[in-house]
């Protein structure tokens, strides 16, 4: 270790920059050719499967929600089972504003959803992120259940158990209407929102801020030791993650034109966790892979064989937890390293 360090110091700058570790660090955040593939696939899907655009929209919302969780859980290592709290906060913001005739413009609606979810995330983060482990897990579940109960109680504003159906959402830019029968507008709108949020998250995780989040996840003590403001960074990360989850929730409410308690329940929080882990967390594209696989299986299997679907999902989760802790992308990477060509340097574990 020390021998290689001294030899690196004595060699020239060019040799040092060609060191594999240096190359890996320099190239880590570079855009790769395959990163355009998901977007090409999404646009191609629009033309190839016009009959499945409703499903496609649902998929895009799920990806966005899982992406928000990836920021908190995958990068900062905040283990939460209450992320639906922010999804629901965003969904109810859009829903309540539209239903009571206050605000029904979609794009600014999403911004408001993000703002409200961010406030919820900031307030809960200030309080919850003081704890760790099981206590944190419990507190996230409890605060989500709290919001769900509050939404259930405030019947006059939230519609209670029945939720708010038939939300009047005005056309985008006053032109493109949300037609409940044809999901073309919804699909493209959701795709645009996802792209914008993805660019933001990608930039964030490769920024120094994002790197310090990974540091906190990997070695909390060392980050404290080097003087990183750990708690502040975690709270900021949690707030941003909440804001994106809020956008996902707002989007969900807009494209479906309804909002109900299912946006806030444990089921949704568990599902998004499963989607992210299935794809592989802490690697941005895990959200994409996980959502496609999970929703496709659910869409085609769950309707026909609901019980077999649940059994299969259970077995799959047990299998992932025991043998494939980095999800599908992690499995693919391991296979690639073993049988594929050159060594791939950037692999967050």
């Amino acid at each position: 270790m020390s021998a290689s360090a001294t030899s690196a110091e004595s060699t020239s700058f060019a040799a040092r920059i060609n060191h594999p570790a240096a190359r890996a660090l320099i190239e880590r955040h570079r855009l790769r050719w395959w990163e355009v593939l998901p977007w090409i696939a999404a646009i191609a899907g629009y033309f190839i499967f016009p009959g499945y655009l409703g499903f496609g929209t649902e998929l895009l919302v799920a990806i966005l929600f899982a992406l928000s969780l990836d920021l908190a859980l995958g990068y900062a290592g905040i283990i939460t089972l209450g992320h639906a709290a922010f999804f629901g906060a965003g969904a109810y913001t859009v829903g309540m504003l539209a239903d009571h005739g206050v605000w029904s413009e979609p794009i600014t609606g999403l911004m408001l959803a993000a703002l409200v979810a961010a406030i919820v995330g900031l307030l809960s983060g200030l309080v919850l992120l003081r704890t760790r482990g099981l206590t944190l897990l419990m507190l996230t579940i409890c605060s989500m259940a709290l919001l769900e109960q509050a939404a259930n109680m405030a019947h006059d504003y939230t519609g209670g158990f029945d939720g708010l159906p038939n939300l009047p959402i005005t056309p985008i830019f006053g032109v493109f209407n949300f037609n409940p029968l044809y999901n073309n507008t919804q699909y493209l709108y959701a795709l645009a929102v996802l792209l914008a949020c993805f660019v933001f998250v990608r930039t964030l995780v490769y920024s120094p801020f994002g790197q310090s989040l990974t540091g906190i996840r990997e070695n909390l003590l060392r980050m404290h030791a080097v003087g990183a403001p750990v708690r502040r960074r975690l709270i900021i990360c949690y707030t941003l993650s909440a804001a994106i989850a809020g956008i996902a929730g707002g989007l969900w409410a807009q494209v479906n034109a309804y909002v109900n308690l299912s946006s806030l329940d444990l089921d949704r929080a568990a599902t998004v966790l499963i989607v992210l882990i299935l794809g592989g967390y802490g690697r941005l594209y895990g959200a994409f892979v996980g959502a496609v696989v999970y929703l496709a299986l659910e869409h085609f299997l769950a309707r026909i064989y609901p019980t077999a679907w649940q059994l299969g999902l259970g077995i799959l989760l047990v299998f992932i937890a025991l043998f494939a802790r980095n999800g599908i992308l992690g499995l693919g990477e391991a296979l690639w390293r073993r049988y594929g060509g050159r060594h791939k340097p950037s692999a967050p574990s």
């Binding site: 003081r130 099981l134 409890c142 259940a145 109960q149 509050a150 999902l313 259970g314």
Partner: protein
């Protein structure tokens, strides 16, 4: 008079519901405290045990008390198999893997029971001796509730006695406090894990059977009451038997009082109180501070 009846209803009903909560959760508390394992599937063991007990009574005409014993034994045996084969591989894994694994187990249990028994709710017929009303002098109350409260007291005292006065109890306490030190002293921690896991799952089964009469029993049971079990454990304090007992009784009484006086979503206060308490004491009421 009316208020006295209300009060008796809240206290006795709450204590009996709290007892069931305690019997189910105590195993979860001990295994979580001992192994640091986030076992969300604990409610699934309670459900499984409940089904064994109810089916034994309804289909095989076994009496209530022997059926409870059968449920305890069968569930404990199943949990030993699962612990040996699967759980122990994840003791050193992160919480995330444990959460995922146990959610997967919950799904398997729910689907398995739906396939084997059916999605409909099962009903438990109490033996005639436990049905009806019991005269307390100042008021009448359901005999079964009184029975539950007494059973809960006996179980809590029994477990406390084992914890405080026996060799294995001392070993468990030592391992909860400092696992490495306990191992160094020659305590067979592996065996301790298996024994407590089996016992905890058996207790969950007992709780599933005892509570089936008023909580109902359907395949969603494992998820429906999970949050309550987790609240009881984290409020009481991991690894603390008396802590869970007090927490469960408190939650039971509070729940009954809130349902009576604030029928619309009074449970919100339970969540608020849980959050406040965990912020004040992250280790729970009687839990030991993390080192």
């Amino acid at each position: 008079m009316d208020f006295a009846t209300d009060l008796a209803g809240i206290v006795l009903g709450g204590l009996s519901a709290g007892t069931v909560l305690f019997v189910v959760s105590v195993g979860l508390s001990v295994t979580m405290g001992l192994m640091g394992f986030v076992n969300l599937a604990h409610g699934a063991f309670a459900m499984f045990g409940g089904y064994v007990i109810v089916l034994a009574m309804n289909r095989a005409n076994i009496d209530f008390v022997p059926a409870l014993a059968l449920g305890f034994v069968v569930t404990a045996a199943l949990s030993v198999v699962l612990e040996r084969l699967l759980y122990r591989r994840l003791y050193r894994a992160g919480e995330l893997d444990q959460v995922l694994f146990t959610i997967g187990l919950i799904f398997i249990f729910i689907a398995g029971i739906t396939i084997a028994v059916g999605p409909e709710s099962q009903t438990l017929e109490l033996p005639p001796a436990l049905g009806g009303q019991f005269n307390l002098g100042f008021t009448h109350y359901r005999t079964y509730s009184i029975f539950l409260i007494v059973v809960g007291l006996v179980i809590a005292f029994g477990i406390w006695l084992v914890f405080e006065r026996t060799r294995i109890g001392a070993q468990i306490r030592a391992t909860v406090d400092n696992r490495r030190m306990a191992e160094s002293l020659g305590i067979n921690v592996d065996r301790l894990f298996t024994i407590t896991f089996a016992f905890g799952s058996g207790m969950a089964a007992l709780g599933g059977g005892l509570g089936a009469e008023f909580l109902g029993l359907d395949p969603q049971y494992a998820l429906k009451y999970l949050v309550y079990f987790l609240i009881a454990v984290s409020v009481g304090g991991l690894g603390s038997v008396l802590g869970v007992y007090y927490a469960a009784l408190l939650i039971g009484v509070l729940d009954f009082a809130l349902k009576l006086y604030l029928p619309k979503g009074g449970t919100i206060f339970i969540y608020v109180l849980t959050i406040l308490l965990l912020l004040w004491r992250p280790q729970g009421l009687l839990g030991r501070k993390e080192t």
